[in-house]
């Protein structure tokens, strides 16, 4: 472990707590084919506990599919997904639903329920999965909405929100059950730079408050290196590199270099 693991890179200030136990999520030799095409081709990966892990790679590299495996939304053709040593692929549905209470997930488009307003969207998991009273639910939802800066928008419906507000509302919903592990699928894609940075700093702020284990898919290269501790590079369903952010940034691997710099010339030719 280097000194970097002890200091929060995004803010560079606060000391991080030392993680208890080994990796939060382990993917072991994961294989998945969709429509006859191998999307994941033998993924072996450890997600460090209580750190922000960024997953980068070209579009179609299998990032989203891998993230969905981590929460059991997809079942692999082969391999195992271990969350604290429990193999998700062997769980029955009720067991899977129970273990998912430890997860929060933010989807690419936010995936807010169109028929519910923002407040009800955030309150939804509480209403469905807990026996909390109305007052308690209101208090928790208002707290989460305040954290993401949406105090006054509770009455609005998803189609009345801007892209940034949708992501923030979805983030509030993902966190409302106090998860240990937060999975974020492209939280910033399609947003303008100012809103993008405000979302990223919000995520970082949340991280400091709750010390989640975070896995974040992102295309914000090279910015993402400043907002994460650990970076995973994925290409063609394989892990190219999984290392602390600094190390990945300084990597001499030609594909990683091309990805970071966005070069047209390099090991990958698209045209």
């Amino acid at each position: 472990m280097t000194e970097n693991d002890w200091v929060c890179r995004p803010c560079g200030l606060e000391k991080l707590p030392e993680p208890q136990g080994g990796p939060a999520i382990r993917l072991v030799d994961l294989v998945k084919a969709l429509d006859g095409k191998k999307v994941l081709d033998g993924i072996d990966l450890d997600i460090p506990r209580q750190r922000i892990t960024a997953v980068i790679g070209l579009s179609g590299a299998g990032k989203s599919v891998m993230l969905k495996h981590m929460i059991g939304l997809e079942r692999p053709d082969a391999g195992r997904v271990l969350v604290d040593g429990v193999d998700l692929t062997r769980l029955s549905r009720p067991e899977l639903y129970r273990i998912r209470r430890r997860f929060g997930m933010l989807f690419q488009g936010g995936a807010l329920f169109d028929s519910l307003d923002v407040f009800e969207n955030v309150a939804f998991p509480l209403r469905e999965k807990t026996a909390l009273g109305e007052a308690e639910i209101r208090e928790r939802v208002h707290m989460r909405l305040a954290q993401v800066g949406l105090e006054g928008a509770g009455e609005k419906f998803p189609d009345e929100l801007s892209g940034g507000m949708v992501r923030r509302a979805a983030l509030a919903r993902a966190m409302v059950m106090d998860p240990e592990i937060l999975l974020l699928d492209e939280p910033t894609t399609g947003l303008d730079p100012i809103i993008r940075n405000s979302i990223l700093s919000l995520i970082c702020h949340m991280y400091h408050q709750h010390c989640f284990t975070m896995v974040m898919i992102s295309h914000d290269i090279p910015d993402i290196f400043c907002w994460s501790h650990h970076v995973v590079v994925l290409h063609d369903g394989k892990v190219v590199l999984s290392a602390p952010a600094e190390e990945v940034f300084r990597s001499s691997d030609p594909f990683v270099r091309q990805l970071i710099h966005g070069d047209i010339a390099g090991p990958v030719h698209l045209m």
């Binding site: 969905k68 929460i71 939304l73 549905r93 899977l96 639903y97 129970r98 998912r100 209470r101 997860f103 929060g104 997930m105 989807f107 690419q108 488009g109 995936a111 807010l112 329920f113 169109d114 939804f124 998991p125 469905e128 999965k129 059950m177």
Partner: protein, 256 residues
């Protein structure tokens, strides 16, 4: 030759797999529909959507169906000097056949397509995945209430269709063509048996099941963006209409 056989085999296997998938889906949604606690609030919402909001179109089609039955029936029966049987002709064809079938087709067009589109949009917007990640069974949460709603709404709509249609026939036969009112209803009461009514009811329950099953299944298994939603909506409407008509024939031949 072998290639042809293989092509046929692939298609057959795919169809069988799809049918198996549909059956498992039906089983999952029905079993979670009856597992307590029954999500009554959601079911009420679906009865409102499938039933109450279809009422207008049902009343409209029912009254015109009844009126045209009155007109056609009168014209045909007069050839045999049996206009007195108009009441029975209108009531029997409505209760046994047209009420359940036409109301099912109307519900398919108005509510079934919307069910598919709604669930399909939730699928492509990853809202169904979001439910899953929250540990909520999307079939129990989305599909079962819609199925129960259709099972309640469609038979009631068919009954309303029957009554409105009989009144439509009354309007034409008695008020317009001058048939005796007592003859119209008297013949009707004499010829309609309880079995006719219960057969019609059974049919419309079966149709409610078919519609909600096909439409939610197609929505639930939507893929590939907005185009996928339009595709699954179209195929849901076509498939459930066809299945309603096929089911109608099969049920009629079994029940008669």
């Amino acid at each position: 030759m072998l290639a042809l056989a293989e092509a046929i085999g692939t298609r057959v296997l795919r169809k069988i797999r799809a049918m198996g998938g549909m059956t498992i889906f039906l089983w999952a949604s029905l079993s979670s529909a009856v597992a307590p606690p029954v999500p009554l609030r959601h079911v009420v919402k679906q009865v409102h959507f499938i039933g109450v909001k279809s009422l207008f179109v049902i009343v409209l089609t029912a009254s015109f169906t009844g009126m045209v039955l009155g007109l056609q029936g009168y014209y045909t029966l007069r050839k045999f000097a049996a206009e007195g049987l108009l009441g029975s002709a209108v009531a029997l064809s409505l209760i046994r056949e047209l009420g359940p079938v036409l109301s099912a087709l109307m519900v398919t067009g108005r509510a079934g397509s919307a069910l598919t589109a709604e669930i399909g949009i939730m699928r492509i917007g990853e809202q169904i995945d979001a439910l899953e990640t929250m540990g909520i069974d999307p079939i129990r949460h989305l599909v079962s209430p819609r199925m129960l709603g259709a099972l309640v709404s469609v038979p009631l709509l068919a009954s309303i269709f029957d009554v409105i249609g009989i009144l439509g026939g009354y309007l034409v036969g008695v008020k317009l063509l001058g048939l005796n009112q007592g003859v119209y209803f008297g013949q009707m009461e004499a010829s309609v048996m309880l079995k006719d009514v219960s057969d019609g009811l059974l049919k419309s329950i079966a149709f409610g099941l078919i519609i909600s099953w096909v439409c939610t299944f197609k929505g639930y298994h939507t893929a590939r963006g907005a185009e996928g939603v339009s595709q699954s909506t179209t195929s849901a409407v076509v498939l459930s209409s066809v299945l309603v008509l096929i089911g109608d024939y099969l049920l009629t031949s079994v029940l008669l």
